[in-house]
Symmetry: C2
Subunit: 434 residues, 2 copies
């Protein structure tokens, strides 16, 4: 079957609905390199403007999902459940969460992204563990899940290759913030891993890609709808990303903080999100039928040391040095520390996640361009959170730095991220969509 | 100065106004081949959706105009005035009009297009005159105007090259029918010729690119606005293109019909449009201060033979054989003729210009693809027009054909173009915009 791509662009431009065979043709031909980027860019802008309706989006996602290899985990005799975050600042949730859930008996085949702009990436954080390999072949990916019950890998080009190609084009041509395109991108990659259920953490606020609750809720509903069409249960939880999650923003420092959580410690906001998402995962996996039971199992996995042991197992299975997990002071450390102090007393009313994330990026914790290297040791410790009462001169943040000119870029952003006044913060969890 | 093209795309996508230096940068960099087609395609789709406001459009047009050579006709001691049509079926107006206006003392530096889809092109028609060269260098173009007072050339790649590049991309990516993009395309090419004033014939109806009067009026107003900003007076006349203009649709046959007009004959609808546009041109050129005077001058140019002589002069100057003008039966002739007859008596209420134009295209009078050759001899004579009373069996059209399979394609379109009932046609001239 063949179509005039120009006519399909014109129809979408005019708000018409494309038919299933037309969408499948576009995705297949574009992935095969037989449609030019300039026509695809025009179509994506038309989709940005006109959207995709429910049936269009189901087919679009399905075509991207089957544009490459789809893993088969059916031989693994455990419920498969994964978690995906839309991205934030200080969001190291996956690192303690996946071992905790795996320790409770679920299989967690997790494929994560790298940092993007001001947001961090699980893969970058894991790579601050010496030797930890996140680039796995599909066979290695399956074999690590078989062996340890979880895997923490980067995205593979052989899964949903259409998404990789389309994402790069969207990034260059201004069609990234489109809800159907975001939803299909996430779901095609996640479903290609062969999972049974998914918990989605939709971050909302200053440090998230979704700045407002209405759009975040729409994205959540859209993804839940795709899951339903694919027969994969999805629960989306909307959580706050106005301020960084937890205390640490960086890479090695976030690994250290993740280990704290697995030892029963860690900052309360991070712990709350980890347990909330873990409860949803265990319920979706059918391991718990109610929240309180799930909570008990997760607490037990931590207090028994089983969850920490899972992280050690997966680290070894992926080539990482388990010694740094036992002694996090062996992780890469920045040479210098600069303390940002409160210039007056009062309540902290804003710790701007976008500014803190951008400051960490400037320090070298993230990438300005895709090809940049990151510095795993640098980062920022947020010492006061929204709602905290502080006195003048008290530490608001510690900046871990190696390069003076980078510190000079990061410092004013860190300082201006904090606002001190007389009222308290915003809620951490906004709601959920099933 | 340098910008992030992605950010400019995003701003236009979100309905923001681009600044002058940003638009100039986009047009200059794209013309120089330093911006990728895929980003330009996304921007053009965003412009299609969000439009360009008055100041944006002025700069966009100006940047395209100065993207290449701009001719200088200031040494020619006569008012320079041109006519442009948005394109239709049977629209041979330029061929009698330019010599008539030149014979009245104006200089007419006319650069015309080729046929596009179901519409014919002045350049294709002129090329049915043996030897007639429409590809002129800028120097030849100026020299023909100097010598004869007019020139009838095809578009030169050295004038407004940005328009050529952007037009091809729009054609492939579904952003052709955008009023600001159409207006800037027309005006950048026209202004690059160095003219003093322009009469625009905006065709409206089934056989035109503007199907409805409101959009046609908006295009007319938009172009008049660009002319004002550039200090070039423009009058736009909106004329009917629901049925073909005149009797002949094709190439050589339209040259023959044009010669009839220069001899004082020709179909009344064609004659009316030619004189109406000629009046506007003479008034804009300052040769006549009122319509009646302009009309008398045009009639005098025809009855004296001066206008026909101008066509002979320009034909010789551009390498064409003047013998065919004196004896149009020497023009290329199709081998066969097929007559389409009325199946019942009544009034003709529709002669669909789109269907007749498409039928002529199928016969070989136009191009399915840019690289196709055209057959100058084939075409259709429309023997009954909207409002005519016909009897059963009377000829509605004559099809001049060479290839039987092409005739088989063209015949049903020609037949279905005619509708016979009990009421009369639509007005020929809808109005004007100054």
């Amino acid at each position: 079957m063949s179509f005039s791509f120009r006519q399909l662009i014109e129809r979408k431009r005019d708000g018409e609905v494309l038919r299933a065979e037309e969408i499948r043709w576009i995705i297949a031909e574009y992935t095969a390199g037989r449609l030019p980027d300039y026509q695809m860019a025009a179509l994506l802008m038309a989709v940005f403007k006109e959207g995709l309706d429910g049936p269009e989006l189901e087919v679009w996602t399905d075509a991207m999902l089957y544009s490459g290899e789809v893993l088969d985990l059916s031989h693994i005799n455990a419920p498969k459940v994964d978690k995906h975050s839309t991205g934030g600042v200080g969001d190291k949730v996956s690192i303690p969460l996946a071992p905790m859930v795996a320790a409770c008996g679920a299989a967690v085949p997790m494929m994560s992204g790298r940092g993007l702009g001001h947001t961090g990436g699980t893969v970058d954080k894991l790579e601050s563990i010496p030797g930890f390999r996140t680039k796995l072949t599909p066979d290695e990916f399956v074999s690590v899940v078989e062996k340890t019950g979880l895997v923490l890998a980067g995205q593979s080009g052989s899964l949903a290759p259409a998404d990789g190609a389309i994402y790069s084009l969207r990034d260059a041509t201004g069609s990234v913030p489109s809800i159907p395109l975001i939803a299909s991108s996430i779901m095609s990659k996640k479903l290609a891993v062969g999972l049974g259920a998914l918990v989605l953490d939709v971050k909302v606020g200053r440090g998230a890609f979704m700045k407002d609750l209405d759009r975040a809720r729409l994205l959540a509903e859209t993804i839940v709808g795709i899951g339903k069409a694919q027969g994969t249960p999805v629960v989306a939880v909307l959580t706050d990303m106005n301020q960084p999650l937890g205390r640490m923003v960086g890479n090695a420092t976030e690994i250290a903080e993740s280990i704290e959580v697995l030892h029963g410690g860690g900052p309360p906001d991070l712990v709350e999100v980890v347990y909330r998402l873990g409860e949803e995962m265990l319920m979706l996996a059918g391991i718990s039928s109610e929240r309180a039971d799930a909570r008990r199992r997760l607490e037990q996995a931590v207090s028994s040391g089983a969850a920490f042991e899972k992280l050690q197992q997966v680290t070894v299975a992926q080539g990482g040095d388990p010694a740094v997990l036992l002694d996090p002071s062996l992780l890469p450390q920045a040479e210098n520390e600069h303390i940002v102090r409160a210039t007056k007393g009062g309540y902290v009313v804003r710790v701007d996640a976008f500014e803190i994330g951008t400051a960490a990026l400037r320090l070298g914790a993230g990438r300005e361009r895709k090809e940049d290297d990151i510095d795993p040791s640098v980062g920022i410790a947020v010492e006061a959170k929204t709602g905290d009462e502080v006195t003048a001169g008290q530490a608001l943040a510690r900046i871990f730095w190696n390069d003076g000119s980078r510190l000079a870029d990061a410092l004013p952003l860190t300082e201006s991220a904090f606002e001190i006044s007389e009222q308290r913060g915003s809620p951490l969890v906004y709601g959920e969509v099933r």
